[in-house]
């Protein structure tokens, strides 16, 4: 993975000192809360319902075991012993004191980590495919491009006060595991007929209150123009994105209002101008970064057979492992969704244990997924049973990846000041209700947001749940048919909303219908797409 050089380290250290100075000026009253707010937001510090929340960046979701261990230690020292992995492949701590943050950031900087641009109206942490560098289906590792973009976007002087936040995802596989087209910019690294790599740009996707699937605006940007093209996309947005209404300020609204063709025309004109400005790093820089992502020293001839005689292990194997590009290896996903647990939460001890297991079994590397789970990307098949045994002893072996128990949920009313309804207790109820049947139901992605801001990606769930406020009481709307994969689609609302128990019953009626009507091999989403909304509506509302 990427190792900082002295330049990268100095940038992060400098930011710690800058923020220390800003906190000092806030505490001594030089800065008003209004003035301080964008500064702390640029550093991932939110004021929540009960305390400050700090979001730490995990660039493109990749981290080392040393970094993971520090995340566990921080949970103990500065939080209440927990960390919360997020849909942005980051980690959040919910109980942070303002005066502690400079020291906390100092600890992070020692292991090449930071909280730079994890919130605020700027370019956020770049996300990517959690199986990058390990997946059998990728054309190349997307992370060097994500790292190039990370450096370009860090402290970019022109783009610190954009109309709204800006999220970029980079993938390099036809199988989209990063919800690429639901980002402000989604980049897919592709290969043309001549065998050259380039970048396909999808711009103007997003969730929130007006979900949109990003249109393709350029199918092949040469790699030695990647930064210049990105800069053109951002400049057009910074200049013309709406600033009169924060709910219409994301780039998706600009692209939608002026049309993808006109947006593209503006970008191409800006791009033509910027090409002469010398802003593109040389390809040698991309080559330097790529060296950091060279293949691991995979054992040649590693045995491919796994003893499946233990049925619990075999179930986990089928559910939570994926094909690796190297023979004799597997990709392991550790579910942070135990039955009745808080999705994405891990205790300090669990975080440290996962760090140790990555060191022992996965070339020192871990990934955070946007579905709030942890990946050990490079595990020898011969080690899978030992790994599973260790996970099982720590409550980390739940075999429910991509099932109805693998719920994405935003923090909701338990923490978030914008929420209309609680997300976490509902997720816990659903996971308990369906625990015995999740394997029978199979792949079913269920996502919960506590309000229309859609942090829980409810539009993109096979089943989505949206918390709304109905005359002062919590109410939940049900959506069906969303997908964030390569077949991206947006869910549709079934009809009137439900209370907390009502929505769990409604989901059960929908899954019962699926179980009776599914054709061979059909997932819930496939059956819904074949049958359409009507029969589900009938089943749900009777």
């Amino acid at each position: 993975m990427y190792k900082y050089d002295t330049y990268d380290q100095a940038m992060v250290d400098t930011r710690v000192e800058e923020f220390r100075d800003q906190v000092r000026r806030r505490i001594d009253g030089h800065l008003t809360e209004d003035q301080f707010k964008p500064l702390r937001l640029m550093n991932g510090l939110y004021l929540q319902l009960h305390a400050y929340m700090l979001r730490v960046a995990i660039p493109y979701g990749t981290l080392s075991s040393a970094q993971m261990r520090v995340l566990g230690d921080i949970a103990d020292r500065y939080d209440r012993g927990y960390g919360h992995f997020t849909t942005r492949q980051n980690i959040q701590y919910n109980w942070i004191k303002l005066e502690d943050t400079p020291d906390l950031l100092g600890e992070l900087a020692k292991v090449e980590m930071h909280a730079i641009q994890t919130s605020g109206n700027c370019i956020r942490n770049i996300s990517s495919d959690q199986f990058a560098g390990a997946a059998a289906d990728e054309v190349t590792d997307p992370r060097p491009y994500a790292e190039l973009l990370r450096q370009w976007s860090s402290f970019h002087p022109e783009f610190t006060t954009l109309p709204r936040k800006f999220k970029i995802a980079v993938i390099a596989s036809k199988i989209d595991r990063a919800a690429m087209r639901l980002h402000d910019i989604g980049i897919e690294i592709v290969r043309n007929d001549a065998g050259e790599f380039g970048a396909a740009f999808y711009v103007g996707g997003g969730m929130g209150r007006t979900p949109m699937i990003g249109p393709l605006i350029n199918g092949f940007v040469p790699l030695d123009q990647l930064i210049t093209y990105s800069e053109a996309c951002l400049r057009v947005y910074n200049r013309f994105g709406r600033r009169d209404n924060k709910y219409k300020a994301r780039i998706k609204i600009l692209v939608h209002e002026i049309g993808a063709a006109e947006y593209t025309r503006l970008v191409e004109a800006e791009f033509a101008h910027l090409l002469a400005q010398g802003i593109e790093p040389p390809l040698a820089e991309l080559a330097r970064i790529s060296e950091n992502f060279a293949d691991m020293a995979f054992e040649v001839g590693a045995p491919g057979d796994v003893d499946r005689s233990d049925p619990d292990f075999a179930l986990w194997l089928d559910r939570n492992t994926h094909a690796h590009k190297a023979p004799g290896y597997a990709i392991v996903t550790i579910s942070l969704k135990p039955v009745g647990g808080i999705p994405g939460d891990a205790s300090a001890d669990q975080i440290r244990l996962m760090a140790d297991l990555a060191r022992d079994y996965s070339f020192d590397e871990l990934r955070v997924t946007h579905a709030q789970n942890i990946v050990l990307p490079h595990v020898r098949k011969a080690d899978l049973h030992a790994l599973w045994t260790a996970l099982d002893g720590a409550g980390l072996s739940t075999p429910n990846l991509d099932t109805i128990g693998d719920i994405i949920a935003c923090p909701g009313l338990d923490y978030c000041s914008l929420a209309n309804a609680r997300s976490i207790p509902l997720a816990q109820k659903i996971s308990q209700r369906f625990a015995a049947r999740q394997e029978e139901i199979g792949e079913l992605k269920l996502k919960i947001s506590g309000c229309i801001n859609a942090c829980g990606h409810h539009h993109a769930g096979h089943i989505g749940i949206l918390g709304v406020d109905k005359r002062g009481t919590e109410n939940y709307q049900l959506l069906l048919g969303g997908s964030e994969a390569a077949d991206t689609s947006l869910g549709k609302i079934t009809g009137p909303g439900f209370d907390e128990d009502g929505i769990v019953d409604a989901i059960e009626r929908a899954t019962d219908l699926y179980l009776t009507r599914r054709a061979d091999g059909e997932r819930f989403l496939d059956t819904y797409r074949r049958l359409g909304m009507e029969p589900f509506k009938e089943a749900i509302y009777g």
Binding site: D5, Y7, D8, A10, M11, T14, E17, E18, D21, Q22, R25, H30, Q35, P38, L39, N121, Q151, W152, S154, F155, H156, P157, E158, F159, T160, T161, L162, D224, Q225, I227, T228, R235, N238, R239, R243, H273, L274, Q277, G278, I279, E280, P281, P282, L283, A284, E285, R288
Partner: protein
């Protein structure tokens, strides 16, 4: 009004800055003020006679002026580029990078804070209007631009 903080050696322009609209009609005006919604590219035909461009920030959170500044510099404008309005000391370093070389904030900067802000960043990741060599250029001395 507070004396502007300037990073230029020439005499400050005394003329009042006119709006972009009236600038178009006044063939002798040398100072213009851009509002966030104005298009900086409208000034390109007359860059030669401009000696002062004020870019107004009615609220610090509206960042359109950063793009306007860079665009003017990228098209060869060398006169004074002054940030006016709700300009905060924590924006100083980024604004310098975008080509601003004068600052007339509504509330004067604390001089020590301003100095610290300007001295803070030893290196930068991007090419911008200040033409500082970015980190990638230092990593690859002699490499041609992509």
């Amino acid at each position: 009004m507070v004396e502007p903080l300037r990073f230029r050696d020439d005499e400050a322009v005394a003329d009042p800055a006119v709006t972009v609209d009236s600038f178009g009609d006044q063939t002798n005006a040398a100072a213009v003020r851009l509002e966030p919604g104005d298009d900086a590219r409208d000034l390109l035909p007359c860059l030669g006679r401009l000696r002062l461009v004020e870019i107004n920030f009615p609220g610090f959170g509206d960042g359109r002026g950063y793009s306007a500044a860079r665009i003017l510099r990228e098209h060869g404008y060398t006169g004074e580029l002054r940030a006016v309005g709700d300009v905060l000391v924590d924006q100083l370093a980024a604004m310098r990078r975008c080509g601003f070389d004068a600052f007339a904030p509504d509330i004067a900067f604390d001089p020590a804070d301003a100095q610290a802000a300007l001295a803070r960043w030893a290196d930068v990741y991007q090419t911008a209007a200040d033409r500082r060599a970015p980190i990638w250029a230092k990593r690859h001395p002699g490499a041609v631009h992509g």
